[in-house]
Symmetry: C2
Subunit: 478 residues, 2 copies
Amino acid sequence: MKRIKIKELLATAPTGQPVAVHGWVRSFRNSQFISINDGSTLQNLQAVVELNALGEDTLKRITTGACISVSGDLVASLGKGQAVEVKVKSLEILGDCDPEAYPLQLKNRPSLEYLREIAHLRSRTNTFSAVMRVRHAMAFAVHKFFNDRGFYYIHTPVITGSDAEGAGAMFRVTTLDPAKPPLDDKGHIDYKEDFFGRETNLTVSGQLEGETYALALGEIYTFGPTFRAENSNTTRHLAEFWMIEPEMAFYDIQDNMQLAQDFLQFLTRYALDHCAEDLEFLNKRALEEDQAKPQEQRSELTLIDRLKFVAENDFQRLSYTEAIDILRNSNPNKKKKFQFLIDEWGTDLQSEHERYLVEKHFKKPVILYNYPANIKSFYMRQNEDGKTVAAMDVLFPGIGEIIGGSQREERYDRLVKRVNELGLPEKDLWWYLELRKYGSAPHSGFGLGFERLILFVTGMTNIRDVIPFPRYPGNAEF
Amino acid sequence: MKRIKIKELLATAPTGQPVAVHGWVRSFRNSQFISINDGSTLQNLQAVVELNALGEDTLKRITTGACISVSGDLVASLGKGQAVEVKVKSLEILGDCDPEAYPLQLKNRPSLEYLREIAHLRSRTNTFSAVMRVRHAMAFAVHKFFNDRGFYYIHTPVITGSDAEGAGAMFRVTTLDPAKPPLDDKGHIDYKEDFFGRETNLTVSGQLEGETYALALGEIYTFGPTFRAENSNTTRHLAEFWMIEPEMAFYDIQDNMQLAQDFLQFLTRYALDHCAEDLEFLNKRALEEDQAKPQEQRSELTLIDRLKFVAENDFQRLSYTEAIDILRNSNPNKKKKFQFLIDEWGTDLQSEHERYLVEKHFKKPVILYNYPANIKSFYMRQNEDGKTVAAMDVLFPGIGEIIGGSQREERYDRLVKRVNELGLPEKDLWWYLELRKYGSAPHSGFGLGFERLILFVTGMTNIRDVIPFPRYPGNAEF
């Protein structure tokens, strides 16, 4: 008989029809009730074994974690907690699971820290299976959003000879013998002998390469892995993470902000519509976690409230300069409650300031734009005031900055001047600068860290728990 | 006025309505007819300038490659080659393009080799824009196929501490000072000091990590970059390429073959349905390329014929042993036309044999299965005959192997034995082996090299021309 997935089975009207289900045992009560999960949904299927129908030997092998195949009739369930159940006619053990050795037992609820050490098994827990199903849904929604709008997905390179963006420390990629690297005349490492004939690194962003395609195909996006070799042991940083970077010809900073809002609202709405079951579970989980905290650290909004907050509220747009005015005159600033007091124009904002604007002042998502040039990147478009650039950051409740972007400087002379002011290697940027020589166009783009998004949508608090196999200083297991 | 994309505009009924279009000049004839392309489609828009309506200065700046903004009325075109055109009312130069310096001129059709050197501009040609639009459509189709079937997309790690699969030479990822690496007591490089506290490499496959998720969520797939540090300067190999690897619990080798067929047929059908315009162009391009070859090297089928051939024919399944019998008794073998003659059971098949089976003998796509164990990987399921494994390869016309996969060995003892026979590091595989200890299940999967697929679908002949910025020995520019 063809196997049916539990997700599909639970949506089927029970008429006593025969079904076959494969999955893993979550629990086995009273030698009679087996909870089976196959990963297709958070819900378990209840399989009911008639008393004395199975031999003692088989019963002993129905342990938490064991993989079984069950055939029987699908009937309405009289018990609480499920609408249907399967009356078992035959049961086969596909894979045993030694209850003494198996680390995922119901009785001792493992910590998130411990689960990171067994990342090859943690996806069998409710929490991680829910997170990973939501992660899948969000990845698909990203592609759907852009495809529906006529954007083209571009795979920008992971290994790059360009390190000009300066977004962070980089990992070197090499095939040179580390013990005996070839040296040139001057005794330096001779990268001409390396695989690519030059020093190469792992990319920190696909933006610059993405721009080359925006100026040919119009609207494009990247969605790929990016890397930072920074020694950050925080709950917000990974050495390897996935980033989404749309880049659009003929968009100014206002178009860019509108796209960012449409995108984030589409994603949160998609999650609410397509992941209701998993989100309810994660909502409850986050509530429990929250309630273990002291009152003043608890969230005002639940996870699902936060998602609705984003999906349903227009984002407030205001300039950096306006934001500084608000913050300077705010109560926490006057009463010196901010850790970093806002005094003068030109300082970078901290998470506490961003959250004040979103959560206290406007009570809606905020997009700040026109930042001081000297706290932003070289490629951002210079405004006529001579001191700001057309940068924008989208700020979210709980999380602060979730998107950063800008209109790009499309004027060759201005861009070259800025490159030289900052001492960037003009010769490595030849191809990027050429885009401004040959049919340059106004264009814009932004970046969304995918794991930041997943943190926001799942309510998890450590970024190491929203990616299958996290990479961070000291860890590249699996 | 809001800009309209040319793709959308060309599908609009012309009633003299005002429109605004932005794009790049492809040609400018008789000081009157401008062909504009904005990347949304292969088609150019014809914009018609009234004689003497624009100043001499502006006219001079309408050069191939320049970026312009045009407003005017959309009317039916009297000229040949287009249904509609825009009567220009105003025209603005957004970005000049010096015709003396710009490398993409109509008159001197640049070679594919030269275009690789200007990969930041080549996406502005018809060929590369068509290839990249098809590439996008195929990437979206991959996600759609799996999402519709309830598979979950898993991002397996790019940086890995595991090098057990042995699929090929690897790139080292490091932050150690190459000139002065730290040494341990014995004078060896001390990788404990490296970023991850161990030696790390770029992944060659996400399969092993993917299996951990298949045995939790049921059906998953990966779609990410993979790497080979092999010194291969061929038209078929890249150092960095994208791979799709589905992995499914409860699938045996037959289920696996069915999924591979469904998948490839869905993709080719999707291309035919969604990329008709670009495929027609590429079809013509491939024909012209083909006609420049000597008769005996020309393809029997056109590009579009090949796509239909795959979409419409059931794939022929046969065992390796049956294939060897057919090949041994084939005319090219008897007449010694094969470069590698088929003599005995156990030898690996070459591309010439694969193509004979597909193109001459069966005249349909072929799936070979049950290969000799000693020419296949350690993780493939051992058959009861003691000499073959449940491996399968899908063979395509023109291209040979496009998919390779297998049922995985789910039996702990057999897998450990094989690992030790082959001298693989059992201790590095602890987590992979544990999957067979805790609720193991029959499962299968396969890998599709995305660029191989794009070669097949676009009819391009060099793999460096179907990825935006190709990486190969000696090249990591951009």
